[in-house]
């Protein structure tokens, strides 16, 4: 039972201990203390928040829930709300110096790391972006601009994809010219260093929680690149 609204607790099938474990994982993040100092309930964050205009979503509720340590409500937020946030950080104009958007980042991280079904569902269709960022060190590349993915961007996308190769050559910047599978030309050594970071920080394991197939693929490519590089420098 929610003691404020007197409504039955949602997600009652999830044990309280499990919700508490997830809550504590968020709370124990070293950044948590920089993001929450209490809450006046003033709603300034809500008035600045784009997602609050569009969804049934409130950064005030997030700050309040975390400050009250309402573990059941926290779990609802983790399952239902966090992916609505636009991560614009308009809410940091909070007079209490809170960072509700930052709290969302921490909660998302815990949701992903623990492989929550809702997180995996939300990130379906996003895997090609993770693939690109992990392997190329770029979030987006010209070859991702395909009409099937961006129909709402109009006929421009089709015109672009028909001309991509020649348009890319017609850019005077040396590091961009002709590059279509990444945003710019990156050194092999740089990418090997990036892969080392992904392994050393367990970032690859995080990807496994979202998409096992993608994880296997990334592992193959990155391990091979690291081996080849080690042979080259040996």
């Amino acid at each position: 039972m929610d003691w404020i609204s007197a409504k039955p607790t949602k997600y009652a099938d999830v044990p309280y201990e499990e919700k508490l474990r997830l809550f504590m994982e968020v709370k124990n993040d070293p950044r948590y203390e920089d993001f929450l100092y209490g809450c006046y309930e003033c709603g300034i964050c809500v008035s600045a928040c784009p997602s609050a205009r569009f969804y049934d979503y409130s950064p005030r509720v997030i700050a309040q829930t975390m400050a009250r340590e309402d573990v059941d409500r926290f779990y609802e937020i983790m399952v239902e709300d966090i992916w609505n946030c636009a991560q614009c950080f308009s809410c940091v104009r909070c007079p209490r110096q809170n960072n509700p958007g930052g709290l969302v980042t921490l909660i998302r991280e815990v949701a992903v790391k623990n492989g929550l079904k809702e997180a995996r569902d939300v990130l379906q269709g996003y895997s090609r972006v993770i693939y690109k960022v992990m392997l190329k060190g770029n979030q987006v590349s010209p070859d991702m601009l395909q009409p099937d993915f961006f129909p709402d961007w109009g006929p421009w996308v089709r015109e672009f994809s028909e001309n991509m190769h020649v348009w890319r050559k017609a850019i005077p910047v040396d590091t961009l010219r002709g590059v279509t599978d990444a945003a710019w030309r990156t050194d092999e050594k740089t990418l090997v260093e990036l892969y080392t970071i992904w392994f050393e920080t367990d970032n690859v394991d995080i990807v496994r929680e979202v998409d096992e197939g993608l994880y296997e693929l990334l592992l193959d490519v990155m391990e091979e690149a690291l081996e080849e590089w080690q042979e080259e420098v040996a």
């Binding site: 997602s51 709402d152 590091t175 990156t186 740089t190």
Partner: protein, 406 residues
């Protein structure tokens, strides 16, 4: 009635007065002092801003050094990948002024877009990616100039976390040791739009396109001035230092009429994840809270902003809204593109306007730029590339400002 109790006149008068802030009264610590203390303890290296630099005033009245040259261009994946005229314009401006800089291949993106979109990373990984890039810049002796607003915001926040959490520093140092790199933090995190801002009068001196009949709306980028707000440029001469001065300062220097609109504080609707896989939010917000408000209130000739995501969102969201008979059709450009355009950059070889979706032709015509002629020149370039007669467009072809019809 509320007006009987609210001292409206007094509030308006107060708002009209420029804000002059005393840095000694700043509500936050000066991170740079903590940075130098950590350097003195041997924990990290502080990468000093090279001479020549210009000092600007930031939100709480502190000074920030903006380097003019010897810069290492930390490119933006969204700009380079999807709006290449944005990056090309930044480089073109540097070349026009004969400044010394590096466009590195030893650079990854900050990967912040992915982090804000999917959270498929963690704090240490993000700090390590940033620190790897900073170390790479330090090794060259050139100072990082950050092209992307998100990288800039992300790095400002990450720098704060690195300074405040020893456990993060220790972990990042362990990883950098493996890469054979030192832990380096720049003295200032500098966004390219800050460079444009301090260069604005030099840019205006070389302006060849009259823009005095143009009205623009500015969209200030959230990750530029909301994340670690104290680091953004504020100037009593511009909005009385009650809003950031970047972008607006340039437009005013170029003689453009900057028109205010009521939703200036709203974000563009990018959303990081939303713009890629949930664009109903992005489109609706960009149109209903930004473009249509601008159209209704001031009907601008263009929107000018200073971040990757904002240009993409505000430009690309307008097409679908036409089907719903919304008031759209305002071209969107970055401040760097506007600066380059003012100095006569080629609309396609440099500004790469063909990568923009919302119709920019009426703006070109209003500016007296014969875009059809330049499009034909560009088509000849493309044909020559297709025939294999040249590998691509080079700076030699792109450097020359366009000849302006009398």
């Amino acid at each position: 009635m509320a007006s009987a109790f609210v001292p409206v006149q007094e509030i308006l008068e107060r708002k009209a007065r420029p804000v002059l802030r005393d840095p000694n009264e700043a509500p936050t610590h000066d991170l740079r002092e903590e940075l130098f203390e950590l350097e003195a303890k041997g924990e990290l290296i502080v990468h000093r801003v090279p001479e020549p630099y210009v000092e600007v005033t930031t939100k709480f009245g502190r000074k920030k050094k903006i380097p003019i040259e010897h810069t290492w261009h930390h490119k933006s994946c969204g700009q380079c990948g999807h709006i290449p005229g944005y990056s090309a314009s930044i480089f073109w401006l540097h070349r026009q002024f004969g400044l010394d800089f590096i466009d590195p291949t030893d650079q990854t993106s900050c990967t912040g877009w992915n982090y804000y979109a999917s959270a498929t990373s963690n704090a240490v990984a993000q700090l390590a990616v940033m620190s790897r890039n900073f170390a790479a810049a330090y090794e060259t002796g050139y100072f990082p100039l950050i092209h992307c607003g998100t990288s800039y915001g992300h790095y400002k926040e990450a720098r704060e976390q690195l300074i405040h959490h020893k456990e993060f520093r220790d972990e990042v140092r362990r990883i950098l040791d493996k890469l054979g790199k030192p832990l380096v933090v720049p003295e200032e995190i500098v966004h390219y739009s800050e460079w444009v801002h301090v260069m604005r009068h030099r840019i205006a001196e070389r302006q060849v396109i009259d823009m005095s009949h143009i009205t623009a709306c500015v969209h200030p980028a959230c990750h530029y001035y909301k994340i670690v707000a104290e680091d953004a440029i504020y100037d009593p001469e511009i909005y009385g230092a009650q809003r950031t001065a970047t972008v607006t300062g340039l437009l005013e220097a170029l003689g453009i009429n900057v028109a205010d609109y009521s939703t200036w504080f709203d974000c563009c609707g990018f959303g990081f994840r939303h713009v890629l896989v949930q664009r109903d939010f992005t489109r609706s917000f960009a149109v209903l809270r930004k473009i249509e408000v601008m159209k209704n209130e001031v009907d601008p000739d263009m929107v000018v902003t200073h971040d990757t995501g904002c240009v993409t969102t505000l430009d690309k969201s307008q097409f679908a809204a036409k089907a719903h008979n919304r008031k759209v059709g305002v071209p969107v450009l970055s401040d760097a593109q506007v600066a380059a355009m003012a100095m006569g950059a080629h609309p396609f070889r440099v500004l790469q306007l063909h990568w923009h979706s919302t119709d920019w032709r009426p703006l070109m015509e209003k500016l007296g730029i014969d875009w059809k002629k330049h499009w034909e020149e560009f088509q000849e370039d493309l044909d020559a590339i297709r025939r294999g007669e040249k590998p691509g467009i080079t700076w030699e072809e792109a450097d020359r400002p366009i000849a302006i019809a009398a």
